[in-house]
């Protein structure tokens, strides 16, 4: 089709010079990609100006990286050249194409530098020993192996899996419950919806500071629990919520007269501090997911409920047999979003605990941050990057599995 168009239009009027347009396209594309490559190349030091020594440094220290970048530049450049020159002959198509790329240029430029370039840089240094100041050194899979051999990282994975499991289950079910409550028509519905959403509007930093204060030994949480337990004549021993490393299962063991030794830390379950942070996160994220469920509920045809109630189904049956099956795509979305978000938790840990006590609130992203910035000793960009990719793979696997698992059920409906 495209070839046929060209044959008819090109001889008629010689509209510009396709080969020249192709050449320009090649040069521009290749230039952008090579520039992005040079910027993100791993170098000794971080001074980009004066340009000439920097380029020498980039080519010297990150030879393989730059080589791959140039290769990519040539390939994409050729692709662009072919596309542009092919469509150059037809004036309308040419205009449409040029407008489109002009409109896309901010997105493309920014994404090439800050997403693609940075991603390739991260991937490259994951296999290197790299501290920004000395030349990167190829170490193969050593960074990945080191991650799995380091207790901090393994513990952070265990922590974050607990976190994702508990937070996702609790907040998805509570959000669904609230959405169903808010879905029917009643006076003040919008008022309640707005109020309920408030915790999600505020930044995690603000919420963290407020909860920090509420979690103090003299804070409102202990106060409230003391009052509630007092009703039953039980004295509540005040807890330092943000500094209590005892795990859930450990507490149960202690209550039964035993304990779980520190060699078996992974059996202790989420610590009190970690559960306090979970609670805070659940509090702030429920409203967002509630709104997503509310939006999905709008699409459930009310005739289904009418038919069901004529057949004598009660409210609970309607929920399990109609609402939940109809909401399956929304549940999938919420579960996936929640898992992705919780596996990457960082803010609360950075602000409230710094990974403590006893590493029970360490998370992979916090470790990536710690090693990349070098807050504890040397900067280890390569190691940090390897950990980030391990986390990314875990996230991909989870997303994939959830999709398979939840979507499989939808086929029957």
């Amino acid at each position: 089709m495209a070839a046929a168009d060209m044959r008819t239009t090109r001889p008629a009027v010689n509209r510009g010079r396709p080969w020249l347009a192709g050449l320009v396209a090649f040069l521009v594309t290749a230039f952008v990609i090579i520039a992005a490559t040079l910027i993100s190349a791993p170098t000794r030091g971080i001074k980009i100006f004066p340009l000439k020594p920097y380029i020498g440094e980039a080519v010297g220290s990150g030879r393989l990286f730059v080589l791959m970048g140039v290769l990519l530049a040539v390939l994409v450049g050729l692709l662009a050249a072919v596309m542009i020159s092919r469509n150059w002959g037809n004036q309308e198509r040419r205009q449409e194409m040029m407008t489109a790329y002009l409109f896309l240029s901010p997105y493309l430029l920014i994404t090439i530098v800050f997403t693609v370039g940075v991603l390739l840089f991260a991937l490259y240094i994951a296999f290197q020993q790299y501290d920004i100041f000395t030349a990167p050194k190829w170490v193969g899979l050593a960074n990945f192996a080191k991650a799995f051999k380091t207790k901090d990282f393994v513990q952070s994975l265990v922590n974050v899996l607990w976190y994702a499991l508990v937070v996702t289950i609790v907040q998805t079910s509570l959000a669904l419950l609230l959405a169903v409550q808010l879905n029917s028509r009643f006076g003040g519905r919008n008022f309640f919806r707005t109020i309920f959403y408030t915790p999600s509007v505020t930044s995690s930093v603000v919420i963290s500071m407020i909860f920090w204060w509420l979690y103090l030994k003299t804070g409102y949480l202990n106060f409230g629990l003391e009052k509630v337990f007092g009703l039953f004549g039980v004295t509540w021993a005040k807890v330092e919520w943000l500094n209590n490393p005892r795990g859930l299962f450990q507490l149960i063991a202690i209550a039964l007269g035993g304990n779980i030794s520190s060699d078996l830390w992974y059996l202790r379950g989420p610590s009190v501090t970690w559960m306090a942070i979970m609670f805070q996160n659940i509090f702030t994220t429920i409203p967002t997911f509630m709104l997503m469920f509310l939006a999905a509920l709008q699409d459930v045809p009310s005739s289904l409920y009418e038919a069901a109630s004529i057949d004598g189904a009660n409210g609970r049956q309607q929920f399990w047999k109609i609402t939940l099956p109809m909401l399956r795509p929304a549940v999938l979305l919420v579960v996936v979003l929640s898992t992705i978000g919780t596996l990457q938790i960082f803010d609360q840990v950075k602000i409230l605990t710094g990974g403590g006590p006893l590493g029970t609130t360490l998370t992979p992203v916090y470790l990536v941050y710690r090693e990349a910035i070098g807050t504890q000793g040397q900067i280890q960009m390569g190691y940090a990057s390897a950990m980030a990719f391990i986390l990314a793979i875990i996230i991909f696997v989870f997303t994939f599995l959830q999709r398979r698992f939840i979507e499989r059920g939808t086929e029957q409906y």
Binding site: I39, S40, I46, R86, Q95, E96, M97, T99, F103, P106, L108, I110, F114, T115, V118, L119, F121, L178, N183, S184, G188, R193, T194, F196, Y197, P199, V201, T202, S203, S204, V205, M209, W212, W213, K217, T218, Y220, F223, F283, P287, L291, M292, A295, A296, Q298, S302, Y305, E306, S309, L333, F346, D347, K350, V365, V368, Y369, A372, L391, A392, I395
Partner: protein
């Protein structure tokens, strides 16, 4: 729309007893909703009360709901203190406003342009770029945000607004949202303008932008709120205290300046109040944004 309550009337003849049962159920429902509302607001109300307490009162046990004396001076004190080298709360508030409003404006422009190209124009490479964009949404932030600070340092973006404004000018998710929106808008107006000889740029500016105002407002608010609440990126890229945004300042307030809890809570309020006010006015767009992101995401 009306779901659970309406059908029930079909089944039950509305005898007096049924009406009473319904009234009780409605009453219980409102009590339940009011309880949830109280839980949702409690931390904010308690913290707000805390901002007026004295240093000792705020950590006293048992805590009292109302301050013994309303110390409005806590607010003035936090607002007026210079933490050295021009680092003050007004400055941090201004920094936060600049990056939030700036990136939201940039995003409305850049994302709508890209969305127009995806939704309306035919060009080679479109499917490939669009697929790439959707895939890029799956990259976890941690993988790129942290190494990006090396790139930021190299190009001199560190400690400038650009470090947040430039990467914040685009968002794959918002481009996708706008593309879906535009695809659902009928093309007749644009085609009429095209026949009249308007250029593609004029069509974008004079037809498409006004038509998609609600979606653009949604994008603006999503990005504004996202940037206002951002923590990791500003923490990484803005290092001198003067350039901090509120979130970074508040998070270090406790340790770095050994601030008392009452002042810390005032600081938290400086961040929360503008967003809450905005939310009170535009809650519809917030809610639509989240619902929309949910449905289309």
């Amino acid at each position: 729309m009306a779901v659970t309550t309406a059908p029930r009337t079909l089944r039950m003849p509305s005898s007096e007893e049924a009406a009473r049962a319904r009234r009780i159920r409605t009453g219980l429902k409102y009590i339940f909703l009011a309880l949830i509302a109280l839980i949702a607001l409690a931390p904010f109300i308690l913290a707000f009360m805390g901002t007026f307490k004295t240093d000792a009162e705020i950590i006293a046990y048992p805590p009292k709901f109302l301050p013994a004396k309303w110390l409005v001076s806590n607010w003035a004190k936090t607002w007026g203190t210079d933490f050295g080298a021009g680092a003050t709360f007004p400055r941090w508030l201004a920094n936060t406003a600049v990056v939030s409003v700036g990136s939201a404006i940039l995003q409305v422009l850049c994302c709508s342009m890209a969305a127009y190209a995806f939704a309306r124009l035919r060009f080679p490479g479109k499917d490939g770029i669009f697929a790439f964009m959707l895939t890029s949404m799956m990259i976890p932030g941690a993988v790129t945000l942290i190494p990006a600070y090396v790139v930021m340092t190299k190009i001199g973006f560190v400690d400038t607004y650009w470090s947040l404004l430039v990467p914040g000018a685009i968002s794959a998710g918002n481009i996708f949202l706008l593309t879906q929106f535009l695809k659902a808008v009928p093309r007749e107006l644009e085609e009429a303008a095209y026949v009249d000889g308007a250029s593609r740029f004029r069509i974008y500016k004079d037809v498409v932008l006004p038509l998609s105002r609600p979606a653009l407002l949604t994008v603006f608010i999503l990005q504004f709120q996202g940037m206002w609440n951002a923590f990791m990126a500003p923490l990484l890229y803005l290092n001198t205290p003067k350039m901090w945004v509120l979130n970074v300042a508040i998070s270090t307030f406790q340790q770095q300046y050994k601030a008392a809890w009452n002042l810390t809570l005032v600081a938290a309020m400086f961040n929360a109040i503008p967003v809450l006010i905005l939310f009170a006015f535009f809650s519809r767009y917030y809610i639509e944004g989240i619902s929309y992101a949910g449905l289309k995401g």
